[in-house]
């Protein structure tokens, strides 16, 4: 019985995992164009190929990659800077770290709606500028959201992920800074030099993980591009959902191929993440 107990306790997890894997398997089979119920029985890679040849789909793919990369990169850089600034506070460091958690708790959907209220051409900022006589009408306010370049999405991710990075990196960076960083300072290094030569390099595994998490999230996220994206191109998940709900059921393999591609990218990111995690653990050991 004692030997069985762990297995029994794992059962719910295994059941869930089984379900997940089964669903993923079904999706992948459908992405290869095999859905007998709709008269599709030939296995093919055509639907994946379409991702790279069909103009609309390629544009979707490129947009998603671009937005994911830019938001991950900018959030990581700015978030790390924010983290370093917070850790350098002489007083109220704990309070500041608690405050930084607030945006993390706000759902992405709420953030997107909040941006619309704030930054649309009839939003609060435009109204304030108009009241102050700085613009003559709503047309003069730049159309930041819904642009085909993905500016609206980028802003939403920045607002959400900069605090996330700061919070996520703070644990490792804080311990590095308070031990090895302090030591460097005691040995005569300037705080800036101690940061760039000691604290930052040793915190890189956490920073890299944060980058990957944000990239994977922004690449596969649906609600932010739905609310803030343009009509064309649409982000990959939004396009995938459209294909999934297309009244012509033979469009479903396209949706599944897009999901398959998102899955593939996420898997790769997960592998890199696992590798970084091991380095991070090692880095932690160095500190202790």
């Amino acid at each position: 019985m004692k030997r069985l107990a762990p297995l029994l306790l794992l059962l719910p997890f295994l059941a869930l995992m089984g379900l997940l894997l089964w669903a993923m398997g079904c999706a992948l089979v459908q992405s290869l164009g095999y859905i007998p119920a709709f008269g599709l029985t030939e296995l093919t890679l055509d639907y994946y190929q379409a991702l790279f040849t069909d103009g609309t789909l390629t544009a979707s793919l490129m947009l998603s990659l671009k937005v994911a990369f830019l938001s991950a990169l900018s959030s990581t850089v700015l978030g790390t800077a924010l983290c370093a600034a917070l850790l350098a506070l002489r007083r109220g460091r704990r309070g500041a770290l608690l405050l930084v958690r607030l945006p993390i708790l706000v759902p992405h959907t709420v953030t997107a709606l909040f941006l619309i209220v704030l930054l649309s051409q009839s939003g609060l900022v435009a109204r304030a500028l108009y009241a102050g006589g700085l613009i003559d009408g709503q047309e003069d306010f730049p159309s930041l959201l819904f642009s085909s370049g993905g500016m609206g999405m980028l802003l939403a991710y920045l607002w959400k992920e900069i605090p996330f990075v700061a919070y996520f990196v703070a644990a490792l960076m804080g311990s590095v800074r308070d031990t090895l960083g302090e030591a460097a300072c005691n040995l005569g290094a300037s705080p800036v030099r101690a940061f760039f030569h000691i604290t930052l390099p040793l915190s890189l595994p956490a920073i890299g993980s944060a980058f990957l998490i944000i990239f994977a999230y922004a690449f596969g996220s649906y609600e932010v591009p739905l609310l803030l994206g343009s009509t064309l191109p649409k982000a990959l998940p939004v396009q995938a959902y459209l294909e999934y709900t297309h009244p012509d059921l033979r469009h479903r393999p396209y949706a599944m191929a897009m999901n398959g591609f998102i899955l593939l990218v996420s898997l790769l990111l997960a592998l890199v993440y696992a590798w970084l995690l091991r380095r991070k653990l090692n880095a932690g050991r160095v500190v202790q």
């Binding site: 119920a37 709709f38 609309t56 649309s120 051409q121 009839s122 709503q138 047309e139 159309s143 819904f146 642009s147 085909s148 739905l226 609310l227 994206g229 343009s230 009509t231 064309l232 959902y241 459209l242 999934y244 709900t245 297309h246 009244p247 012509d248 059921l249 479903r252």
Partner: protein, 411 residues
């Protein structure tokens, strides 16, 4: 509220129905009829029973109306208990096709709120009971039997398998305090956007309302008749709608965001309109101005208007499940929903168009409808019905949406 089955539901429902169709080899198209055909016997059979009504549960006005006015009337007149079950159409159809696949002869669903593609796939796959409407006294007495919308649903023959119970129609809405003119044709709309650049837009298809608006533009420019029996071929359709796509491209530079981006949903358009960022709203619920003025979303000066050549309308129907446990009860309830009293009450409570033929109503029955105060900013019923155009065949709709995406956005 008009019926708005999001496309995911349609697709899921279709697939469920298709799967079911495969499982049961397209089934028996005419389920055996053991019910009496005279209505009094049906009423006797139904007395003291419970009838379930499955349908989208997201409209408070509708839920409230069914659970109070309708439920009370049924209890009092027939001792029938109405059980309203809020469920999305995809879930309903998945449930139904699952029951069909499992060979269940007695299911759980009696009445279903349905239309369009969902009706098509259900009827094709033998998931509906019927024909039954010919046995409903109120259907025979009050509904125009020759009307297109009695005979077909999105151009697909109904053949007695569903009964109409409410109508919707596309309207445009402007704030009469903001713009003196109401553009009542595509030509006038072009002048309107040129006068107010950046202040007009429409939801991007496949949004339900945006898609209907594009169909309406196509009707206005290319006429509606040719589409009624057009085959579902994209290139045929592309050639037929070319002038309309050309027109929409001509609009683009004057639209909100220069026509590069369109609101993703009709809700977003309504928000833009409420904020004064655009000057026109579009709705498939003809009485939405009254509702929105009452809620304070629209200004009091909001006013619905139509196009001179008409706007598209569609109808909400009720069908009976092939394995409904209480078919007699369902028929009694549907008949009652078609009574002048409940149609007038529905008109008042839900702000949807009634389906009864005015010419078939007595003066007293007509007075029930005349007494309804439909609220501010709306058009009278006869004005709407006078300019009502039929929907396109369901199969053309997604093709037109694709053509719009390819030829209009950002062009």
């Amino acid at each position: 509220m008009s019926i708005r089955f999001p496309r995911v539901l349609t697709a899921a429902a279709l697939s469920a129905a298709l799967l079911a169709g495969c499982g049961s080899a397209a089934a028996d198209p005419t389920p055996e009829q053991t019910l009496p055909t005279d209505f009094d016997s049906l009423v006797e059979l139904a007395r003291g029973t419970t009838v379930t009504f499955y349908g989208w549960g997201g409209d408070d006005a509708r839920n409230q109306f069914l659970q109070t006015t309708v439920a009370d009337t049924l209890k009092e007149k027939y001792d029938i208990t109405l059980e309203v079950v809020g469920m999305d159409i995809d879930a309903i159809l998945a449930k139904l096709s699952g029951e069909k696949g499992a060979g269940q002869t007695t299911g759980t669903i009696d009445m279903i709120w349905i239309n369009g593609e969902n009706f098509y796939s259900c009827k094709e796959n033998g998931l509906l009971y019927g024909p039954f409407t010919q046995d409903l006294p109120n259907f025979n007495a009050y509904v125009d039997q020759e009307d297109t919308e009695t005979l077909t649903d999105f151009c697909y023959p109904i053949e007695g398998y569903e009964a109409p119970y409410a109508k919707a129609q596309l309207v445009l809405i402007r704030d009469s305090a903001a713009t003196p003119e109401a553009p009542t044709s595509t030509e006038e709309l072009l002048e309107f956007v040129q006068k107010y650049p950046g202040k007009v837009t429409y939801p991007a298809p496949p949004d339900f309302t945006g898609s209907a608006f594009v169909r309406n533009v196509v009707y206005d420019i290319c006429g509606w008749e040719q589409f009624q029996d057009m085959e579902a071929d994209k290139e045929t359709l592309r050639a037929a709608v070319a002038p309309a796509m050309e027109y929409l491209r001509e609009l683009n530079p004057y639209l909100w965001n220069g026509g590069e981006t369109f609101p993703a949903s009709s809700t977003q358009l309504t928000n833009l309109f409420a904020d004064g960022e655009v000057l026109l709203d579009i709705s498939y619920s003809p009485y939405s101005p009254a509702v929105n003025i009452e809620k304070g979303i629209y200004p009091d000066t909001a006013q619905a208007f139509l196009w001179d050549n008409g706007t598209i309308g569609n109808t909400n129907y009720i069908a009976i499940a092939y394995n409904a446990p209480n078919k007699a009860g369902a028929m009694v309830v549907i008949n009652e929903l078609l009574s002048p009293e409940l149609q007038a009450a529905q008109y008042e409570a839900q702000k949807v168009l009634p389906v009864l033929d005015e010419e078939k109503l007595s003066a007293e029955e007509q007075a029930l409808f005349d007494a309804v105060d439909i609220g501010e900013g709306t058009l009278p019923q006869d004005a709407l019905l006078e300019r009502r155009l039929p929907e396109m065949p369901a199969a053309l709709v997604p093709l037109l949406e694709e053509i719009w995406t390819e030829e209009v956005v950002g062009q």
